[in-house]
């Protein structure tokens, strides 16, 4: 292992306090904390103060430390002889330890719990092997993290306990505060560490701010933070697992709600309804059903469930969001949005709301939506949800929303399994494809068929003159295709759509 260069640096007074070789240590005096400690001197007689070496931690034993004037004299002698700090047992010092004098002279005064000689030994061992002190800190942090387990608050509490005088925070990848102390975010010299999620994607960032500027401290902090990454990732994984379990339970409950079994008694049905009500699901009809379908294949990235749930909570139109076969469904009470008892008004409102939501979500997660209904109650909700899902399935363009009762031929055709029909389509249209270099003829034929062979409507959609469409149709007819021939029409229409969806 390559030894990091910063580890060989002598320990400073601040590090002595931070690395915790001294139990229950308290430091008085703000100045001089970055002084290096190279040696320890035990002082049990006042005369010993006359010959101190620079960079020494002067440890007063109980007897001299009991005399306040000797403590003051020790601070003075330490200052005169450039010693690093004065250490006294807290039990021995007076009610008013001379913190002001420590401040004034720039010699920190350390009050330690327990015996002075034991403290001296601890300092000596920390000073002789500065990296041992750091190692001890890491070991302590590891124990605390192990005890904390995969819980974000407990992990942060363990880090705060292991790294005294250091503020820590957990933020999302763009810096939003998730947990910890906000002070960490205001740091001038923060230590940052990315926390990946269970899938390896960035989940969060650990930010630490240490007020001490000692050399090597930042790298020590980073080492400790690194140990906190696995429990945080595990925390995310368990949270996702819980989420998925919730999804499964909701799916099952929705199935039970919409498909009451024949032999099910009244009581079981009531139980299901009660559970659904407890989850806040709208149960009183009329109900408008919604479906959401991710527009891209999900194998490439993380499962969109948690993200979609979060986005739905933020931009959605309220109501539950439940995985339903290959998409997610939701529904709400139609009467909630409008007083008018008109199904057309309800559906139009629902469509508008879903479109707004889908467009907002589309920025981060491309998807399309379907609207259906109204259903009279939970008994017919299953049908409405299936309709909405079918409508979402034909809404080919991300961000678009299709009403189940307004599905046109283009939407239906686009829902066909393009992969299976591609070869037959190419065979059917082979002469046209051979002549059609840039796809203009194919697109024109498809639009003309969409519009019931009306050239003027097709010209409008294509953005060309009506004569242009007519001219193209002449060429198409010359190749042997007639959009007005009932025998050819369906086959041509299908083939055009399959190939267009392909491109």
């Amino acid at each position: 292992m390559v030894r990091r260069p910063d580890l060989s640096a002598p320990m400073t007074v601040a590090e002595l306090v931070q690395y915790g070789p001294l139990p229950g240590v308290r430091i008085l005096g703000t100045a001089g904390r970055d002084a290096q400690v190279l040696d320890v001197r035990i002082v049990d007689r006042r005369e010993a103060l006359d010959s101190l070496r620079p960079h020494t931690a002067v440890v007063l034993t109980e007897a001299p430390a009991r005399s306040g004037w000797i403590v003051e004299m020790a601070l003075r002698k330490a200052w005169e002889q450039a010693a690093a700090c004065v250490v006294v047992p807290e039990t021995a010092v007076a009610v008013h330890p001379p913190g002001a004098l420590a401040d004034r002279l720039g010699v920190p005064l350390l009050l330690i719990g327990g015996d002075a000689l034991e403290g001296a030994v601890r300092i000596a061992s920390a000073v002789s092997r500065p990296d041992a002190g750091r190692t001890a800190l890491l070991a302590d942090a590891a124990q605390r993290l192990a005890a904390a387990g995969p819980h974000v608050e407990r992990v942060l509490a363990a880090l705060h306990a292991a790294l005294p005088s250091t503020s820590l925070a957990l933020t999302d990848p763009v810096g939003g505060m998730l947990a910890g102390r906000r002070a960490a975010l205001d740091s001038a010299h923060p230590v940052r560490l990315d926390v990946p999620g269970p899938d390896g994607h960035p989940l969060a960032v650990l930010v630490a701010d240490s007020r001490s500027k000692e050399a090597g401290w930042a790298s020590t902090v980073e080492s400790v933070l690194r140990m906190a990454v696995p429990p945080l990732t595990a925390w995310a994984a368990t949270r996702r697992l819980a989420e998925e379990q919730l999804d499964r339970r909701s799916e099952l409950l929705l199935h039970q709600l919409t498909h009451p079994s024949e032999d099910e008694d009244e009581q079981a049905g009531a139980h299901v309804r009660a559970e659904a009500a407890a989850l806040g699901w709208p149960l009183a009809g009329p109900l408008i059903a919604f479906a959401l379908r991710p527009a891209v294949a999900t194998e490439a990235g993380p499962a969109p469930g948690p993200a979609l749930r979060a986005l739905w909570a933020r931009y959605g139109i309220g109501g539950p969001l439940i995985a339903y076969e290959d998409c997610w469904v939701s529904w709400r009470s139609a009467a909630a949005g409008s007083a008018a008892p008109d199904p057309e008004v309800w559906l139009r409102q629902g469509e508008a709301q879903l479109r707004t939501a889908v467009r907002a979500i589309c920025d981060q997660l491309p998807l399309a939506g379907g609207v259906a209904g109204p259903a009279g109650g939970t008994g017919t909700l299953g049908v409405a949800l299936a309709d909405a899902r079918a409508a979402a399935a034909v809404a080919a363009v991300p961000g678009s929303v299709v009403r189940a009762d307004r599905m046109g031929p283009a939407q239906l055709l686009s829902a066909l399994p393009a992969e299976a029909l591609r070869r037959p389509a190419e065979v059917v249209l082979a002469p046209l494809l051979a002549a059609d270099r840039d796809g203009t003829l194919l697109r024109t034929l498809a639009i003309v068929l969409d519009q019931g062979a009306a050239p003027s409507a097709a010209a409008e959609i294509l953005g060309v003159h009506r004569n242009t469409v007519a001219a193209r149709l002449e060429r198409i007819r010359a190749l042997g295709f007639d959009p007005e021939d009932p025998a050819q029409r369906l086959a041509l229409h299908l083939a055009c759509r399959v190939l267009l969806a392909e491109s």
């Binding site: 009991r66 004037w69 003075r76 005169e80 001379p98 004034r104």
Partner: protein, 378 residues
């Protein structure tokens, strides 16, 4: 006063002396001090003013005896003097030595002892020497500059208020041990006549001018009590008492100091001007050591006093409470006390001696840095 000059201590000057004698004895028992002052007033009224003479004016042919109050001063207020004690003690010593005393000198010029010397001189119709055997106050009979100069304390003649007279013959260094139980047995206090010496030895051993110094301190003047003192005391600084602590164990190293009655006290004073140093006064009976920012600024046997800034009066350590503004003043001890023998003798009574530390003055030469006190003199 200068050699050859003679001053008489009359009733008015006695009052000045009485006031000035309190400067070095801020903790004096009030009742016994009042009793001694009444006694001295009566003696001066009865026998007339006491001539004050310069130590050098006595000459080798004339003998001087030293007087001191022994025992507890509180006992003096309870068992009032008959008035005959000083005369009987001096006469007993004269009988033992076979020659008459020609002058009286005080053991120290503080509180009751200064007044007792006046009483003795008046009732024996002898002059009082302007000086004493200490220059400050120390608890033991043998802690004098006379001892340092080689003058024997013995024979010691004791006269008690009950009328007993005891003469203790040359007992070497055990005078204190012998005399203390005698005083206790006699009722708590006695007048001692001791340190008989001729004028020449007196001139070499005495701390001169202490009576006129006390007179000056007691005279109503503008400025502090040390206005007319020569040499002027050293002023360490002015500040506010921020803490008074009573450590569980004696603060400074004491050598046999367990006999001292009062408890150890630490007084922390934050300087309110100049360098804003933190003074720490360590006291046991009297202030033994002053640290300025942890460095010794003054130590016994120099006398360290706190003057209340409000009225320029000496503040007893026992009366120090946080919030009082005080001036810390050092009265240099007589040079004899700074000799190795003098330091040893001072330590015998429980005074701290911070050897092998150099004297603060010497420290100043070693570290002439900005942290050192800017000394102000009156």
């Amino acid at each position: 006063m200068t050699p050859g000059e003679e001053t008489a201590l009359d009733a008015a000057r006695l009052e000045d002396l009485a006031k000035g004698a309190l400067v070095l004895a801020a903790g004096a028992e009030h009742s016994s001090y009042r009793a001694s002052l009444d006694w001295a007033r009566a003696a001066v009224a009865e026998h007339g003013p006491v001539p004050l003479i310069h130590p050098g004016d006595l000459g080798s042919e004339r003998m001087c005896v030293t007087v001191s109050l022994l025992g507890s001063s509180a006992a003096l207020a309870e068992q009032l003097p008959t008035g005959q004690e000083p005369l009987r003690a001096v006469r007993a010593l004269e009988r033992r030595l076979g020659r008459a005393a020609d002058a009286v000198v005080a053991l120290n010029t503080a509180a009751e002892n200064a007044l007792l010397a006046v009483v003795t001189a008046a009732s024996c119709r002898l002059p009082l020497v302007d000086g004493d055997g200490c220059g400050r106050v120390l608890p033991l009979l043998e802690q004098t500059t006379f001892t340092i100069a080689g003058v024997d304390v013995a024979p010691v003649a004791l006269a008690t208020p009950a009328g007993d007279v005891v003469v203790v013959e040359a007992a070497g260094s055990r005078v204190e041990e012998l005399v203390r139980p005698l005083v206790l047995a006699a009722g708590g206090w006695a007048v001692a006549a001791c340190y008989a010496m001729d004028g020449e030895r007196l001139a070499g051993a005495v701390v001169p001018g202490t009576v006129s110094r006390a007179l000056a301190a007691g005279r109503p003047t503008h400025g502090g009590p040390f206005e007319l003192w020569q040499p002027r005391p050293r002023r360490l600084g002015i500040g506010r008492i921020t803490a008074v602590e009573h450590p569980a164990t004696p603060g400074p190293d004491t050598a046999g100091g367990t006999a001292l009655p009062s408890r150890p006290t630490s007084v922390v004073v934050s300087e309110t001007e100049g360098l804003h140093r933190r003074f720490r006064l360590e006291a046991h009976n009297e202030v033994l050591l002053v640290l300025a920012d942890g460095a010794p600024a003054a130590l016994a046997p120099d006398q360290i006093l706190m003057l209340s800034a409000a009225d320029q009066r000496v503040l007893d350590v026992e009366r120090a409470i946080p919030g009082i503004e005080v001036e810390i003043v050092v009265i240099p001890a007589a040079p004899a006390w700074h000799t190795p023998q003098g330091r040893r003798l001072a330590a015998a009574g429980g005074l701290i001696l911070l050897s092998p530390d150099p004297e603060p003055d010497a420290t100043q030469v070693q570290h002439p840095d900005a942290e050192r006190p800017e000394e102000t003199r009156w």
